[in-house]
Symmetry: C2
Subunit: 378 residues, 2 copies
């Protein structure tokens, strides 16, 4: 919705010059802007340059200054440019090459009558950087003043269908196409679209009235950002103890740049021996209650907090499946706990959806419990 551009279609076509050229020609008849990604690299299946030339009736020629730039990129890495990379210096006549600050494949920007074609590399971080740094300014200049904006409410520990039921009446009030709900395991995103800041403020207020404390944050990537931000604000630290999630909580936290100010580390205690040795879970507790139990989750959280010397410790133990379930403790049973300066909070649930979904539900559930504990403490 930025720049007032409405995305009407995404297409994925094969690595064939004909297929890409046909899709591009078709779309140029219907839309003002086509962004292609991928197919700009050095390999034989990289055909985007050829396809753009074919679809727009232009030619390809090698640009010496682009070739020189590609060689320099490889030289920076202490490597010689492989010969196959030469094709990356081919430029569609009339286009502007877009140099790539995070890789070696250049993009291109081409005006076709009153339409615009942009081609960017498929590598996500290269594409994103070039989009932000080089393409966005062009779009802002071309379509100025269009103000449709979006705001995303992130909700933790809730199911999509439950949220939907609670906010459905607000769709009628604000218009069905102005709110989109996106569910993932343990996390729901509500994307609100408005004509400007005030309009969005009104919508946010109305949705927050209904959703209350389930709203974890606004315009954040995930619960990781929310809890890291709150802990940073308090000058407190966090440690993790993970069993069935096997490091997913810590991997998610450390995906956020600057996490090291808050996150000191964690223990992935897949075996009982490690729960005992590194986290101090008593063998008697493991034997009496089993590894997947409230008692073990609580002791793991407290153990992470003490042994890793952090202000807060979070812990997860569960049965992600597909094997390992029993009648009493089925696949999907997860216990999670948060140990802080006060006491230890605990929750449990039986999650469905298979190993990956159980693990993702567990990650968001423990982060959301930590968030609520931090809010409750005020």
């Amino acid at each position: 919705v930025r720049f007032g551009i409405q995305v009407v279609e995404k297409r994925v076509v094969g690595d064939s010059e004909e297929a890409v050229a046909a899709a591009l020609a078709d779309l140029l008849r219907r839309v003002d802007l086509v962004v292609l990604t991928g197919g700009l690299g050095p390999t034989a299946d990289d055909v985007t340059r050829e396809a753009v030339a074919a679809a727009t009736g232009r030619e390809l020629r090698e640009a010496p200054e682009v070739l020189e730039w590609i060689r320099a990129r490889y030289a920076d890495l202490g490597r010689e440019m492989p010969r196959v990379c030469r094709q990356m210096a081919l430029v569609v006549t009339g286009s502007r090459p877009l140099l790539n600050s995070r890789g070696s494949a250049p993009g291109l920007l081409l005006e076709v009558e009153d339409r615009l074609v942009v081609a960017l590399p498929g590598v996500p971080w290269e594409m994103e950087t070039m989009l932000t740094e080089q393409v966005a300014p062009v779009l802002a200049e071309r379509w100025p003043g269009s103000g449709r904006m979006a705001r995303t409410l992130v909700l933790g520990g809730v199911m999509e269908s439950v949220v939907e039921g609670r906010v459905r009446h607000l769709y009628d009030r604000f218009g069905r196409d102005r709110a989109t709900i996106l569910g993932s395991p343990g996390l729901v995103r509500l994307v609100l679209a408005g004509e400007g800041g005030q309009d969005l403020d009104r919508m946010e207020t109305a949705f927050r009235e209904v959703l209350g404390a389930d709203v974890a944050g606004v315009d954040v990537g995930g619960l990781e950002e929310v809890v890291l931000g709150r802990l940073r604000g308090r000058g407190q630290t966090l440690a993790t103890a993970e069993s069935c999630t096997g490091g997913l909580v810590s991997a998610g936290l450390t995906a956020v740049a600057g996490a090291s100010e808050v996150f000191v580390g964690g223990v992935v205690s897949y075996s009982n021996a490690i729960k005992e040795r590194l986290l101090g879970v008593p063998r008697a507790t493991l034997e009496a209650c089993g590894a997947v139990s409230e008692e073990v989750a609580r002791t793991m959280a407290a153990g992470a907090r003490e042994r890793l010397q952090a202000d807060w410790g979070v812990a997860i133990t569960g049965i992600a499946g597909p094997g390992g379930g029993t009648a009493e403790k089925p696949v999907g049973l997860v216990h999670w706990a948060v140990a802080g300066p006060g006491d230890v909070a605990h929750r449990q649930a039986v999650f469905g959806g298979g190993r990956d979904a159980v693990r993702r539900w567990s990650v968001n559930s423990v982060l959301d419990l930590l968030r609520r504990e931090l809010e409750g403490e005020g």
Copy 2:
């Protein structure tokens, strides 16, 4: 390529009944099979049922047996069915509902003259399960005996452009459209397409001759599967010590079902205090060499192996960025090490591409070093 079905196009269109219906009508003019995913849930933006009915000139009616089945799914979870879920019981006339063993949204299968339309939920594991269990048998029956098959060689610790240069001459020999190369940080996939097993064997042999020990495995999801498989075969165990990857190695290993036979656990030692306390890295080494150094990587790997009592220990320490780099130790510098029954192997590199790419390169690099150590030992 299974069932001889060639995927000619993927399209993503907005959550609008008109857009989905228009795309479906267009595709039904050109292809034999259209698979739609998503838009089958309980929310107001789930419009696939309506769009299929509109595009094929059919009606929607509530099917009591489907409604009953949805209620039962919620009852299994100990919940009452939210009212919004009632729309999931709407069935396109003439279609066959596909019940969903991993969620509550049914799919549908509809014959339109000699074309086939399949709609599946967008949740990946629900979609995959239904595709395998319910749709694949229908396709196999409809298009029997078509034998085009694929085989994927997975290569570790190599760059896409380097692999491309080495195998390019084989494209000429076997045909340009029979090999597709897919690069990701630290991992390259070469997908070979052939007319049957013998044909694929010939291609695999030719590619292996060129690629040698860089081929880590065939038809595997990633290096995690490869190393877990080899260690399981030897009855050996593995522990991890991660700094800049923050648990990504252990999260990847434990994403594989049954990892617990091999993987005992790990330490995410984001702070120096934890490197010292839990992994036994001497403070003097940390002070003399810095946390990102060959010495610390080696000591972390050996520490993980000893403290977590495993046969093998792997370790990563590096600067993922964006901050934290110096002239001597730039952003992207990573040291990784593998400690086994013999000595400790170590490698280092400066990876580009930003925080996420540096972390992914690091994960695949340490897993690939472990794989090569396991092969070297025979």
